[in-house]
Amino acid sequence: MPLDKTGSNPNSSMKMSLAARSTLRARERAEFRYYDDMGPGRGNCTWGAGLLAHKGPCTVEELKRPVSAAAVFAEFSSRVSDAEGTVRARVNHQVLDQDQFDGLVSYTFNVGPRGAAKVLELVDKGKLAEAAGKMSSMTRVRVKTKHGSKLVIARGLISRRAEESAPFRK
Protein backbone atom coordinates (compact mmCIF):
# COMPACT_ATOMS: atom_id res chain seq x y z
CA MET A 1 0.00 0.00 0.00
CA PRO A 2 1.31 3.48 -0.80
CA LEU A 3 1.95 6.48 1.41
CA ASP A 4 -1.03 8.79 1.71
CA LYS A 5 -0.26 12.29 0.45
CA THR A 6 -3.62 13.93 1.02
CA GLY A 7 -2.76 15.06 4.54
CA SER A 8 -5.65 13.24 6.21
CA ASN A 9 -5.12 10.11 8.31
CA PRO A 10 -5.99 7.18 6.03
CA ASN A 11 -6.30 4.80 9.00
CA SER A 12 -8.49 6.96 11.23
CA SER A 13 -11.50 4.64 11.13
CA MET A 14 -9.69 1.29 11.34
CA LYS A 15 -10.42 -1.24 14.09
CA MET A 16 -8.99 -4.66 14.84
CA SER A 17 -10.93 -7.40 13.04
CA LEU A 18 -12.98 -9.81 15.16
CA ALA A 19 -10.88 -12.78 14.01
CA ALA A 20 -7.61 -11.06 15.00
CA ARG A 21 -9.13 -9.98 18.30
CA SER A 22 -10.10 -13.52 19.25
CA THR A 23 -6.64 -14.83 18.24
CA LEU A 24 -5.09 -12.17 20.47
CA ARG A 25 -7.42 -13.06 23.35
CA ALA A 26 -6.43 -16.71 23.08
CA ARG A 27 -2.74 -15.82 22.97
CA GLU A 28 -2.47 -13.50 25.93
CA ARG A 29 -1.94 -15.26 29.22
CA ALA A 30 -4.27 -13.69 31.73
CA GLU A 31 -3.19 -13.64 35.38
CA PHE A 32 -6.30 -13.81 37.53
CA ARG A 33 -4.36 -12.62 40.57
CA TYR A 34 -2.14 -9.88 42.01
CA TYR A 35 1.67 -10.29 41.91
CA ASP A 36 4.88 -8.28 42.44
CA ASP A 37 6.47 -7.38 39.10
CA MET A 38 10.07 -7.93 40.25
CA GLY A 39 9.40 -11.17 42.09
CA PRO A 40 7.93 -11.79 45.55
CA GLY A 41 8.27 -8.76 47.81
CA ARG A 42 10.01 -6.66 45.13
CA GLY A 43 8.92 -4.02 42.62
CA ASN A 44 5.33 -2.91 42.18
CA CYS A 45 2.02 -4.63 42.77
CA THR A 46 0.59 -5.72 39.40
CA TRP A 47 -2.39 -7.73 38.17
CA GLY A 48 -3.81 -9.30 35.01
CA ALA A 49 -1.49 -8.97 32.03
CA GLY A 50 0.85 -6.50 33.73
CA LEU A 51 -1.52 -3.78 34.86
CA LEU A 52 -0.09 -1.65 37.67
CA ALA A 53 -2.21 -1.82 40.85
CA HIS A 54 -0.02 0.52 42.89
CA LYS A 55 3.61 1.35 43.63
CA GLY A 56 5.44 -0.99 45.96
CA PRO A 57 4.87 -4.70 46.57
CA CYS A 58 1.38 -6.14 47.04
CA THR A 59 0.06 -6.61 50.55
CA VAL A 60 -0.52 -10.14 51.88
CA GLU A 61 -4.23 -9.50 51.47
CA GLU A 62 -3.84 -8.52 47.80
CA LEU A 63 -1.73 -11.58 47.04
CA LYS A 64 -4.58 -13.78 48.31
CA ARG A 65 -7.29 -11.86 46.48
CA PRO A 66 -8.33 -13.32 43.08
CA VAL A 67 -9.03 -11.04 40.14
CA SER A 68 -12.36 -11.64 38.45
CA ALA A 69 -12.65 -12.79 34.84
CA ALA A 70 -14.82 -9.72 34.18
CA ALA A 71 -12.03 -7.40 35.36
CA VAL A 72 -9.46 -9.19 33.19
CA PHE A 73 -11.80 -9.01 30.17
CA ALA A 74 -12.42 -5.31 30.76
CA GLU A 75 -8.66 -4.76 30.97
CA PHE A 76 -8.15 -6.71 27.73
CA SER A 77 -10.75 -4.60 25.91
CA SER A 78 -9.28 -1.38 27.21
CA ARG A 79 -5.77 -2.36 26.15
CA VAL A 80 -6.91 -3.41 22.66
CA SER A 81 -8.60 -0.06 22.36
CA ASP A 82 -5.41 1.73 23.50
CA ALA A 83 -3.32 -0.27 21.02
CA GLU A 84 -5.74 0.56 18.18
CA GLY A 85 -5.56 4.25 19.11
CA THR A 86 -1.76 4.16 19.19
CA VAL A 87 -1.53 2.56 15.74
CA ARG A 88 -4.02 5.05 14.28
CA ALA A 89 -2.17 8.00 15.82
CA ARG A 90 1.36 6.90 14.94
CA VAL A 91 0.71 5.51 11.47
CA ASN A 92 -1.01 8.39 9.75
CA HIS A 93 0.79 8.55 6.40
CA GLN A 94 1.08 4.93 5.34
CA VAL A 95 -2.19 3.39 4.14
CA LEU A 96 -2.69 0.12 6.06
CA ASP A 97 -4.77 -2.85 4.96
CA GLN A 98 -6.74 -4.84 7.56
CA ASP A 99 -4.06 -7.54 8.00
CA GLN A 100 -1.35 -4.93 8.54
CA PHE A 101 -3.48 -3.02 11.03
CA ASP A 102 -4.28 -6.24 12.93
CA GLY A 103 -0.59 -7.19 13.01
CA LEU A 104 0.42 -3.81 14.40
CA VAL A 105 -2.32 -3.80 17.06
CA SER A 106 -1.30 -7.28 18.23
CA TYR A 107 2.37 -6.22 18.35
CA THR A 108 1.58 -2.95 20.17
CA PHE A 109 -0.61 -4.80 22.67
CA ASN A 110 2.31 -7.11 23.46
CA VAL A 111 5.24 -4.68 23.73
CA GLY A 112 3.36 -1.55 24.85
CA PRO A 113 2.41 1.63 22.98
CA ARG A 114 5.88 3.20 23.37
CA GLY A 115 7.67 -0.13 23.10
CA ALA A 116 6.18 -0.39 19.60
CA ALA A 117 7.24 3.15 18.66
CA LYS A 118 10.19 2.24 16.44
CA VAL A 119 8.19 -0.24 14.35
CA LEU A 120 5.28 2.18 14.02
CA GLU A 121 7.63 4.92 12.85
CA LEU A 122 9.22 2.64 10.23
CA VAL A 123 5.78 1.62 8.93
CA ASP A 124 4.63 5.24 8.80
CA LYS A 125 7.70 6.12 6.73
CA GLY A 126 6.89 3.27 4.32
CA LYS A 127 9.92 1.20 5.38
CA LEU A 128 7.86 -1.97 5.62
CA ALA A 129 10.63 -4.56 5.24
CA GLU A 130 12.68 -2.86 7.98
CA ALA A 131 9.61 -2.74 10.21
CA ALA A 132 8.98 -6.46 9.64
CA GLY A 133 12.59 -7.23 10.54
CA LYS A 134 12.38 -5.18 13.71
CA MET A 135 9.13 -6.87 14.74
CA SER A 136 10.65 -10.30 14.21
CA SER A 137 13.58 -9.46 16.48
CA MET A 138 11.37 -8.74 19.52
CA THR A 139 11.22 -12.30 20.83
CA ARG A 140 13.23 -12.31 24.06
CA VAL A 141 11.65 -12.47 27.49
CA ARG A 142 13.08 -12.57 30.96
CA VAL A 143 12.99 -15.83 32.91
CA LYS A 144 13.97 -16.38 36.51
CA THR A 145 17.12 -18.34 37.24
CA LYS A 146 18.84 -19.47 40.45
CA HIS A 147 21.06 -16.39 40.29
CA GLY A 148 18.44 -13.83 39.26
CA SER A 149 17.08 -13.69 35.72
CA LYS A 150 18.18 -13.91 32.11
CA LEU A 151 16.73 -13.24 28.68
CA VAL A 152 15.74 -16.18 26.54
CA ILE A 153 14.07 -16.48 23.15
CA ALA A 154 10.40 -17.36 23.61
CA ARG A 155 9.25 -19.90 21.00
CA GLY A 156 5.71 -18.61 21.19
CA LEU A 157 6.88 -15.14 20.31
CA ILE A 158 8.74 -16.35 17.20
CA SER A 159 5.53 -17.65 15.62
CA ARG A 160 3.54 -14.67 16.87
CA ARG A 161 6.00 -12.20 15.33
CA ALA A 162 6.03 -14.19 12.09
CA GLU A 163 2.25 -13.77 11.85
CA GLU A 164 2.25 -10.11 12.87
CA SER A 165 5.00 -9.15 10.44
CA ALA A 166 3.84 -11.30 7.47
CA PRO A 167 1.53 -8.59 6.05
CA PHE A 168 4.57 -6.28 5.78
CA ARG A 169 6.62 -8.78 3.80
CA LYS A 170 4.10 -9.12 0.91
Binding site: M38, N44, K55, K118, E121, T139
Partner: protein, 169 residues
Protein backbone atom coordinates in the same frame (compact mmCIF):
# COMPACT_ATOMS: atom_id res chain seq x y z
CA UNK B 1 -24.43 67.10 0.90
CA UNK B 2 -25.87 65.39 3.96
CA UNK B 3 -23.71 62.44 5.01
CA UNK B 4 -25.31 58.97 5.23
CA UNK B 5 -24.80 58.52 8.97
CA UNK B 6 -26.41 55.08 9.08
CA UNK B 7 -24.09 53.74 6.33
CA UNK B 8 -21.09 55.47 7.87
CA UNK B 9 -21.61 53.92 11.30
CA UNK B 10 -22.19 50.46 9.78
CA UNK B 11 -18.94 50.83 7.85
CA UNK B 12 -17.07 51.88 10.98
CA UNK B 13 -18.57 48.98 12.96
CA UNK B 14 -17.53 46.49 10.23
CA UNK B 15 -14.02 47.94 10.10
CA UNK B 16 -13.86 47.64 13.87
CA UNK B 17 -14.86 43.98 13.75
CA UNK B 18 -12.30 43.30 11.01
CA UNK B 19 -9.58 45.03 13.01
CA UNK B 20 -10.58 43.03 16.08
CA UNK B 21 -10.29 39.76 14.15
CA UNK B 22 -6.94 40.81 12.71
CA UNK B 23 -5.66 41.69 16.19
CA UNK B 24 -6.89 38.33 17.51
CA UNK B 25 -5.23 36.45 14.63
CA UNK B 26 -2.02 38.38 15.20
CA UNK B 27 -2.12 37.61 18.93
CA UNK B 28 -2.78 33.89 18.29
CA UNK B 29 0.07 33.73 15.75
CA UNK B 30 2.47 35.43 18.11
CA UNK B 31 1.42 33.17 21.01
CA UNK B 32 1.89 30.06 18.84
CA UNK B 33 5.23 31.30 17.63
CA UNK B 34 6.30 32.12 21.20
CA UNK B 35 5.24 28.67 22.41
CA UNK B 36 7.15 27.01 19.51
CA UNK B 37 10.20 29.13 20.28
CA UNK B 38 9.94 28.28 23.96
CA UNK B 39 9.65 24.51 23.17
CA UNK B 40 12.66 24.80 20.88
CA UNK B 41 14.61 26.67 23.56
CA UNK B 42 13.64 24.04 26.13
CA UNK B 43 14.89 21.30 23.82
CA UNK B 44 18.19 23.10 23.23
CA UNK B 45 19.26 21.52 26.49
CA UNK B 46 18.98 17.97 25.06
CA UNK B 47 20.47 18.58 21.61
CA UNK B 48 24.02 17.34 21.30
CA UNK B 49 25.92 14.17 22.05
CA UNK B 50 25.23 11.66 24.78
CA UNK B 51 27.05 8.43 25.49
CA UNK B 52 25.40 5.20 26.65
CA UNK B 53 27.23 4.30 29.86
CA UNK B 54 25.16 1.45 31.32
CA UNK B 55 22.25 -0.90 30.73
CA UNK B 56 19.90 -0.38 33.67
CA UNK B 57 17.03 -2.73 32.90
CA UNK B 58 15.00 -4.35 30.15
CA UNK B 59 11.30 -4.33 29.31
CA UNK B 60 9.20 -7.51 29.39
CA UNK B 61 10.03 -8.12 25.70
CA UNK B 62 13.38 -7.28 24.12
CA UNK B 63 14.98 -7.40 20.69
CA UNK B 64 18.46 -8.63 21.56
CA UNK B 65 20.45 -10.60 24.13
CA UNK B 66 21.96 -9.08 27.27
CA UNK B 67 25.43 -9.41 25.71
CA UNK B 68 24.36 -7.69 22.48
CA UNK B 69 22.72 -4.92 24.50
CA UNK B 70 25.91 -4.38 26.51
CA UNK B 71 27.91 -4.05 23.28
CA UNK B 72 26.15 -0.74 22.66
CA UNK B 73 27.61 0.77 25.83
CA UNK B 74 30.10 3.44 24.83
CA UNK B 75 28.22 4.38 21.66
CA UNK B 76 26.95 7.91 21.22
CA UNK B 77 23.35 8.98 21.01
CA UNK B 78 23.25 12.05 18.76
CA UNK B 79 20.24 14.27 19.26
CA UNK B 80 19.56 16.93 16.64
CA UNK B 81 16.38 18.90 15.96
CA UNK B 82 15.54 16.85 12.85
CA UNK B 83 17.03 13.47 13.68
CA UNK B 84 18.08 11.17 16.53
CA UNK B 85 20.84 8.61 15.85
CA UNK B 86 22.03 5.62 17.82
CA UNK B 87 23.78 2.37 16.91
CA UNK B 88 23.55 2.97 13.18
CA UNK B 89 19.81 3.66 13.25
CA UNK B 90 17.98 6.95 12.75
CA UNK B 91 14.69 8.34 13.99
CA UNK B 92 13.61 11.15 11.72
CA UNK B 93 11.52 14.23 12.48
CA UNK B 94 11.11 13.61 16.22
CA UNK B 95 8.56 15.91 17.85
CA UNK B 96 10.50 16.12 21.13
CA UNK B 97 7.25 16.82 22.92
CA UNK B 98 7.65 17.02 26.69
CA UNK B 99 5.30 15.57 29.29
CA UNK B 100 5.57 15.02 33.02
CA UNK B 101 4.80 11.48 34.16
CA UNK B 102 4.60 9.25 37.20
CA UNK B 103 7.38 6.78 36.26
CA UNK B 104 6.03 3.47 37.64
CA UNK B 105 2.67 3.79 35.89
CA UNK B 106 4.07 5.25 32.66
CA UNK B 107 6.72 2.54 32.30
CA UNK B 108 4.27 -0.27 33.09
CA UNK B 109 1.55 0.99 30.73
CA UNK B 110 3.60 2.39 27.85
CA UNK B 111 6.74 0.23 27.87
CA UNK B 112 5.59 -2.92 29.73
CA UNK B 113 8.56 -2.36 31.98
CA UNK B 114 9.44 -1.92 35.63
CA UNK B 115 10.72 1.33 37.05
CA UNK B 116 12.62 -0.02 40.06
CA UNK B 117 16.14 -0.09 38.59
CA UNK B 118 15.93 3.17 36.65
CA UNK B 119 16.05 5.56 39.63
CA UNK B 120 13.92 8.13 37.88
CA UNK B 121 12.68 11.23 39.68
CA UNK B 122 8.96 11.35 40.39
CA UNK B 123 7.48 13.00 38.42
CA UNK B 124 9.86 12.57 35.51
CA UNK B 125 10.09 14.64 32.33
CA UNK B 126 9.55 12.38 29.31
CA UNK B 127 10.49 13.59 25.84
CA UNK B 128 8.76 11.83 22.95
CA UNK B 129 11.50 11.34 20.36
CA UNK B 130 9.19 9.45 18.00
CA UNK B 131 10.93 6.07 17.92
CA UNK B 132 11.76 6.15 21.63
CA UNK B 133 11.40 8.16 24.83
CA UNK B 134 14.06 10.21 26.59
CA UNK B 135 13.71 10.30 30.38
CA UNK B 136 15.47 13.37 31.70
CA UNK B 137 17.04 13.09 35.13
CA UNK B 138 19.26 16.19 35.02
CA UNK B 139 21.19 18.40 32.59
CA UNK B 140 23.90 15.80 32.03
CA UNK B 141 22.10 12.48 32.52
CA UNK B 142 19.15 10.79 30.80
CA UNK B 143 17.72 7.34 30.25
CA UNK B 144 16.47 6.09 26.89
CA UNK B 145 15.17 2.82 25.52
CA UNK B 146 16.60 0.91 22.56
CA UNK B 147 15.13 -2.42 21.45
CA UNK B 148 13.63 -2.95 24.89
CA UNK B 149 16.75 -2.07 26.91
CA UNK B 150 16.97 1.00 29.12
CA UNK B 151 20.33 2.75 28.81
CA UNK B 152 21.75 5.42 31.05
CA UNK B 153 23.38 8.16 28.97
CA UNK B 154 25.74 10.97 29.95
CA UNK B 155 26.30 14.17 28.00
CA UNK B 156 29.67 14.31 26.24
CA UNK B 157 31.56 16.68 23.98
CA UNK B 158 31.39 16.00 20.20
CA UNK B 159 35.09 15.19 20.08
CA UNK B 160 34.54 12.32 22.51
CA UNK B 161 32.04 10.76 20.09
CA UNK B 162 34.23 11.08 17.01
CA UNK B 163 36.95 9.17 18.84
CA UNK B 164 34.76 6.06 19.06
CA UNK B 165 35.37 3.09 16.75
CA UNK B 166 32.83 2.43 13.96
CA UNK B 167 29.58 0.73 14.91
CA UNK B 168 29.73 -3.08 14.88
CA UNK B 169 26.80 -4.65 13.03
Amino acid sequence: MKPNLKYDSKLRRNSGIKLGWLALLGLTASLLSASRASAAEENDSIFGHWRAVAVLDVADVAGKSDAAARQLIGLCLDIEPEVLRFAGEECTTPAYQRTTREPARYLREQWHARSGKLNLPNPVTVIDAGCTDLFITDQSRMIFNWDGFFYEARRVEPVQCRALPPIRR
